[in-house]
Amino acid sequence: MSYTLNSGLHSESNVEVHKYYGGTVLLTAFLALVLQAFLHKYGRWAELVDLPLLVTIYFGVSRRNPVTGMFLGAAIGILQDALSHDNPIGLFGIAKSIVGYLASTVGARIDTQHPVSRLLLIFLFFHLHQAIFAVTERVLLNHPEPFFTLRLLLNSVVTAAFGVVLFAALDRLRKS
């Protein structure tokens, strides 16, 4: 597999919108949530990767439809909140709605096929997601959630690296 790095912006009319087989998006999102919850039982290493966030980013930049991206992000985030034991519903929902919207918007303007650009996108969206999450926690819950820590940096690097591999795998689910 060979990649071409396109650094320049391109107009939305020239953007290629990827299509997937029916149920692929929902099934992938569901699996990401199940795996995240399942792997969480086997140690803290599972926290290094945020699978629901990766799925939100991937389908956002691939579908390149901000409305679809935000609703997908909202759905994944709300389900993630629902599966957590103490999060009020909406904490992850808000963060992933915004990430889904921005990922779709960014995906419509820059090349997101190259692994490097994907790595950078995932890294940046990870910290954006964390920033939104922290703001929501601080403002609404009065919890001193940190914006940045070394642990978060490690998480973002691992998630970005894992995301590059995951995105390549998910590319195979596209309709040709």
Partner: protein
Amino acid sequence: MIDTPLRQRPLFLLAALVLAQVLLLAFQIKRDHDVRLIRYWAAAIVMPFERGGTDAVSHTGGVWSDYISLRGTRAENARLRSELDQLRLRNRELEGQASEAQRLSTLLNFRDAHVEVQMLAAQVIGASADPASHTLFLNRGDRDHVRRNLAVITPDGIVGKIVEVFPTTSQVLLINDKDSGAGALLSETRTHGVVKGSGDPDPRLDYVVNDEPVHAGEMVLTSGEDRIFPKDLLIGTVMVANPGNPFQVIHVRPAARLDRLEDVLILLTPQELKKPNESADANGASSNSPGIVQRESAPPPITKSTAALPGPQPAASMPAAPKN
């Protein structure tokens, strides 16, 4: 439906979606005192308007009640002032009536204590137009069997004597008039003299020789020698006693308040007043008679009390007959 540009529609949708989730969070999150966040927000949003509305209504009501609806206040104020004046007048009337009742009660007690003496209560209705003349007019006259030379007293002390009688009124010559005179004696030494008016508010006790010890505060009583005033009625107290030629100059302060008399008693007979306990025995009741002074024995320590009075004393010639 809000008409938004096509390019901005996803942004509005995102805002709506985030807002919906924020509200969803607010429904779940509880803050202090277990109050949901949505309630805090609702209160924070609504309360300023509520407070503003309340203040507006309060200020509007205040403006109405303090300014606009005060149109009738001036008239009401005038009416209330008039009512206050009437009430003050009424209050003075009541105070006067209460004072009069008190005076009449005192007179009545005195009269009840001396039923053996015929007395007639009278009211002062006027005074002399001549400032140098100390006389009063009473509301009792010939129709009430008032005659000249009857003694006029109060429970505090003697006042004067009747000098003129009219059908329904009579005139009283006060003891401080310059033409007045009354047989008197000093309470401690029983020294006789004559209390004469000098034209001043306070009469003088004349005809007491310089050798007689007289001291300030000593009581001056009627001696009964003038056949007008019964014996041992209080005239007053010695204010000051100075040696003179040939007699002492003794100023007496009248016991009765001659300058503010309103109700008096006219003694219809010159009979001596009995001691109060004798009267009480006669009436089955007791009362005080402050104007009558007790003399227990001779030489008598005389005190102003309600104890025994001596028996009738023979009248003696007066050193100087009072003018009528």
